[in-house]
């Protein structure tokens, strides 16, 4: 009896540690080390040369914008899935700020099915907290939770659930199905007309500032609310040193709060706005060097639990225009791992086990997504990524799989290209190229 699908990865380094062979059979890791080669299924297996490549569990992104339905000119579930696979992801959570909003069982199931049809990563929909993300009344959260999409993460991302009573109610309500509210922390009144980080650079450029306190005030409030009702809270894209301090204090007190940081907030500062190129316009905005230091240290220490991309594709006309009219957001899926290596691994702040934790295990746990973020061990699902830690690649927006081109890293040479990705033992990427 031979397996339907068997792959033998030779000589790769799980978590960057000892060289091992891995045998993937019918979607699971069937054998490792010596047993892999002697296993009966190894004989007929397709061989993948993994010599010197790092193996990590397939990456999981808790914060992706796919734009479908509604803006299929910027991204579709299929093109976003391709970008994700090429970036080493095996699962992505799709934010609900689509048109129509993913605030009903019908829309989240549609996104789920489009993801299954593309078949490159598991696309797990996030449901909106409020109807139309208007912040006025709760969407049917239980209907989404009990739909085929099994939604566990709810977010009005792009906007903040700013009404404190509504935020309290949503935190309480999702406890019924182990849900979590992912908050885009932005006090709306403190950020009216905001264009970039408020500070010396915005003063000089004559742009309305987005002050750090507008993020910190909401995080502090929501941590207190989560405490009060004993619910799970997740803070999206932390961007300031003050936010790290507040989350650290809340965790020390026992608050059920988790937090994410984006790759771009680990690398880029508000100085990038100086040339008025809207590719650097993002929400929350790029902050300062001291903020970057605090975010990196927070991630290394575990105050910040995960790295999430906030992959936000935008069509050319929404970016090649005046800064104040441009849509905020950057591509992230295909560059995330490289930026984490550049900002965290190379400076010695995180090892490969740490990368697996913040980019795979913890996001899967927060999002309650079974089958992803599992250890690299026999019997576990074969969701894996192979990374060449010794090589570099140059970012070309035109080469990216996304339909949009708004990468802030155009022309940059980045470390650690993704060589292969396996979703349930089936390659989605080999030799850095999409399969099939």
């Amino acid at each position: 009896m031979s397996a339907d699908l068997a792959i033998l990865i030779t000589g790769a380094l799980p978590y960057g540690e000892e060289s091992q062979d891995l045998l993937l059979v019918d979607g699971i890791i069937a054998a490792m080390g010596q047993d892999a080669v002697t296993h009966p299924d190894a004989a007929g297996a397709q061989r993948v040369d993994g010599a010197g490549l790092i193996v990590l569990p397939g990456l999981v992104d808790l914060h992706t914008h796919l734009r479908e339905p509604g803006r299929e000119d910027a991204e579709t579930v299929e093109t976003g899935s391709a970008a994700a696979a090429l970036g080493g992801y095996t699962a992505i959570f799709a934010m609900p700020n689509t048109d129509p909003t993913a605030d009903t069982a019908g829309v989240v199931e549609q996104v789920l099915r489009l993801g299954q049809a593309a078949g490159l990563v598991d696309v797990q929909p996030i449901g909106a907290v409020t109807v139309g993300r208007k912040g006025e009344r709760l969407a049917e959260l239980a209907a989404m939770a009990h739909s085929a999409a099994q939604v566990r993460v709810f977010s009005d991302d792009g906007d903040c659930v700013s009404d404190p009573l509504l935020m309290r109610r949503s935190l309480e309500y999702v406890k019924a199905f182990d849900g979590v509210i992912a908050q885009h922390a932005q006090e709306p009144r403190l950020t009216v007309g905001s264009q970039m980080h408020e500070g010396a650079v915005s003063a000089t450029l004559g742009m309305t500032g987005w002050p750090a306190v507008a993020e910190e005030a909401i995080i502090a409030r929501d941590c207190l609310l989560a405490d009060h009702v004993d619910s799970r809270l997740h803070i999206c894209h932390l961007s300031t040193a003050g936010s790290v301090d507040i989350v650290a204090a809340a965790k020390a007190r026992g608050t059920k709060v988790t937090a994410e940081v984006t790759p771009h907030h680990l690398l880029l500062t508000d100085q990038a706005a100086v040339g008025y190129d809207p590719v650097f316009k993002v929400n929350p905005p790029l902050r300062t060097s001291p903020d970057i230091d605090a975010l990196r240290r927070g991630l290394a220490r575990g105050t910040i639990d995960i790295v999430a991309t906030d992959h936000a594709p935008h069509a050319i006309q929404d970016k090649e225009c005046e800064w104040d009219q441009a849509s905020p957001g950057m591509l992230g899926l295909q560059t995330a791992l490289s930026i984490v290596v550049l900002t965290m691994v190379e400076p010695g702040l995180l090892d490969w086990r740490g990368v697996a934790r913040v980019m795979s295990e913890a996001p899967a746990t927060i999002g309650v997504l079974a089958g992803h973020g599992r250890p690299i061990a026999v019997g576990e699902p074969a969701n894996l990524v192979l990374v060449d830690a010794k090589a570099h690649w140059t970012v070309r927006g035109s080469d990216l799989a996304s339909l949009s081109r708004n990468t802030p890293y155009e022309g940059m040479e980045l470390p650690a290209p993704v060589m292969a990705t396996f979703l349930r033992g089936r390659p989605t990427v080999l030799n850095g190229q999409l399969v099939g």
Partner: protein, 305 residues
């Protein structure tokens, strides 16, 4: 000379002085003529690209270009293809195609002239962008100061009012400090941008204290239209704290001058008696506008590139 004039910060002390000296020479050349027109830019095309209404500034640039014998095309975004959704980049390609040698750009978005300069071969002059800068106004102000006080270097100049929304203030801070003046900004804290500590200025909330013995006081327009919310309680309180009246006028040095880039809100920012009184150079600022802009156009367009 820089290739474009996007920010007063683009100007070195040397290039700024060169513009002011050229302005002086143009003023003299014109003064002696019956026909106040020079043939310098004959055959060159200057486009006034105005996305935001400003009749004063547009007329000033138009007069400057025409007195240098350039062909002038006025392109107002209102009622044009722009209002039908044409992007700034598409407009840039159009201007490129018609061979614009210089583009004078006024825009409600900070940074728009900067972006435009990356898409065209012509020289771009920032005629006011959002809440960012208005460098030719700063040159006009510096020229006016020099004319009345002999030099800018070492002079004590107070800029008063709505700094946070003022492109004139941003450009003046950069240019006046490049030219060696000591600049003090006076405003309620709500009208000063966060991050101002990095500017080469001192800040004072007390107008009376800041005025003692200064050489020039530059009033700013309070941009009510940009104030969605209260930056100060009432216009009466603003006027009491930061308006320039006769009593405060008396605190300035005897030779001191009073400036305002216009348009003025009389009674609130400045009392009519001060605006029209001794030492007021407000009307002259407007007149100097044309020759300063002639100098800028001349220097940008005659530079060999």
């Amino acid at each position: 000379m820089p290739r474009h004039l996007l920010s007063a910060g683009d100007l070195t002390r040397e290039s700024a002085l060169h513009i002011l000296d050229t302005t002086e020479r143009i003023g003299q050349a014109i003064a002696g003529r019956e026909v106040r027109k020079l043939p310098t830019l004959r055959g060159r095309t200057v486009v006034n690209l105005f996305y935001e209404d400003s009749t004063r500034t547009r007329l000033s640039f138009e007069a400057a270009a025409k007195r240098l014998s350039a062909d002038v095309i006025n392109f107002s975004a209102k009622g044009s293809s722009v209002s039908k959704g044409e992007s700034l980049k598409d407009t840039a390609w159009t201007l490129q195609a018609i061979g614009a040698d210089a583009i004078v750009c006024r825009h409600s978005s900070s940074g728009a002239p900067h972006q435009l300069s990356g898409w065209v071969d012509g020289h771009v002059i920032n005629a006011g962008d959002g809440t960012h800068e208005h460098p030719t106004q700063a040159l006009i102000d510096a020229f006016t100061v020099r004319k009345h006080l002999g030099d800018v270097e070492g002079k004590r100049i107070v800029i008063v009012g709505d700094v946070i929304h003022s492109r004139v203030a941003r450009s003046n801070v950069l240019l006046l400090s490049t030219l060696g003046a000591q600049v003090t900004l006076v405003a309620p804290p709500t009208l000063l941008p966060k991050g101002i500590e990095s500017w080469p200025v001192t800040v004072d909330y007390d107008f009376d204290r800041a005025l003692a013995g200064v050489d020039a006081v530059m009033m700013l327009r309070v941009q009510r239209e940009r104030m969605g919310d209260a930056f100060f309680p009432t216009t009466r309180e603003y006027s009491r704290q930061y308006g320039l009246d006769d009593r405060r006028r008396a605190l300035i040095a005897n030779h001191g001058i009073v400036m305002h880039p216009g348009p003025m809100v009389r009674g609130m920012e400045i009392s009519p008696s001060v605006a029209d009184g001794p030492g007021s150079v407000i009307v002259e600022q407007v007149a100097n506008g044309v020759i300063v802009r002639m100098a800028v156009l001349y220097l940008l367009l005659s530079a060999r590139t």
